[in-house]
């Protein structure tokens, strides 16, 4: 399924999904996030979507699952202690540290809320234009920008605090 098909077959489901999510979560902002997440998940599996008998029902099921996840769990947060590797090397930036740091970033991104994680990966790894992500999620570009900015800042801040913690226990 290409973007045009996605826009004509999947995006029109948006309103229905939004109402459903709103009813389930009881919160408009949560519902909006849920729907964007749903659409991004559907986009990530667009190859299979074309062959599906009932994409609308499938979309609804995904929305429902996301709502349940949201109601049930609080995401686990990254614990700085997970990353302590007693490296004794004194060089400012050893190879071990570099690898360790990149792993920390990977873990922080994995632990982002799903919508933010999908957006930051689509942008910073897959190189999507924000306009494209907005079209896929049926949201405003400003909403995508906001989530992207939040995701990037969260990764930065979390990394800084983990790094500071590591330096502290090293001393």
């Amino acid at each position: 399924m290409n973007l045009e098909q996605f826009k004509s077959e999947i995006i029109p489901l948006r309103q229905k999904l939004l109402l459903f999510a709103w009813k389930m979560t009881g919160d408009e902002a949560d519902a909006e996030d849920t729907v964007q997440e749903t659409l991004l998940r559907l986009w990530s599996m667009r190859e299979q979507l074309g062959g599906m008998a009932n994409p609308a029902g499938f979309a609804m099921q995904i929305t429902k699952n996301i709502c349940i996840d949201k109601l049930r769990t609080h995401r686990t947060t990254v614990d700085p202690e997970d990353f302590y590797m007693g490296s004794d090397e004194q060089t400012p930036y050893s190879e071990t540290e570099k690898k360790n740091s990149v792993d920390i970033i990977r873990k922080i991104i994995e632990d982002l809320p799903e919508l933010q994680r999908r957006i930051i990966l689509m942008r910073d790894v897959e190189g999507y234009e924000l306009q494209e992500i907005a079209e896929i999620t049926g949201a405003q570009v400003s909403a995508v920008t906001m989530n992207l900015s939040r995701a990037r800042k969260k990764v930065r801040d979390k990394f800084i605090s983990i790094h500071a913690y590591q330096l502290k226990i090293k001393k």
């Binding site: 570099k98 990149v102 920008t145």
Partner: protein
Amino acid sequence: MKKQIYIEELLEKYFEGQTSLKEEKVLREYFRQDNIPEAMETYRPMFAFFSDERGEESHKVKRSPHLVWIRWTSMSVAAAVMLFLGIKFIFLDAQRTTSTQSIVYIDGEKFTDLNTIQKETLNTLDAFSSTNDDVIASQIDMLESLDDF
């Protein structure tokens, strides 16, 4: 210095989600350099992660062939030493068992004479095997008696 200010501005825009794809490429390339100011190191892993995921050549210290040679040589030396020590231990052990260091105690009395030791060892083994024979025989008896039912 000018470049430095430009990068700082880009970073600020980046975290607001306001950079273009082209500007983000400039940032990734900048953080792939070896020498950047200490204050910038904080951001390196984040861009290194994206570069890695994109399959771009990342900031890596290339290993010189010389280093590789040293690494392999030291590993081979270490392996040879381990092998030598291992063999030595096995031989030492073998020597010990055939030397006069062997001791048995029979009824509290100490014996170091090899003949006595061998005899006693055989006796002990016999005792064990006969016990086993008894056990097995009794088990067979029991099974046979069960068959009668």
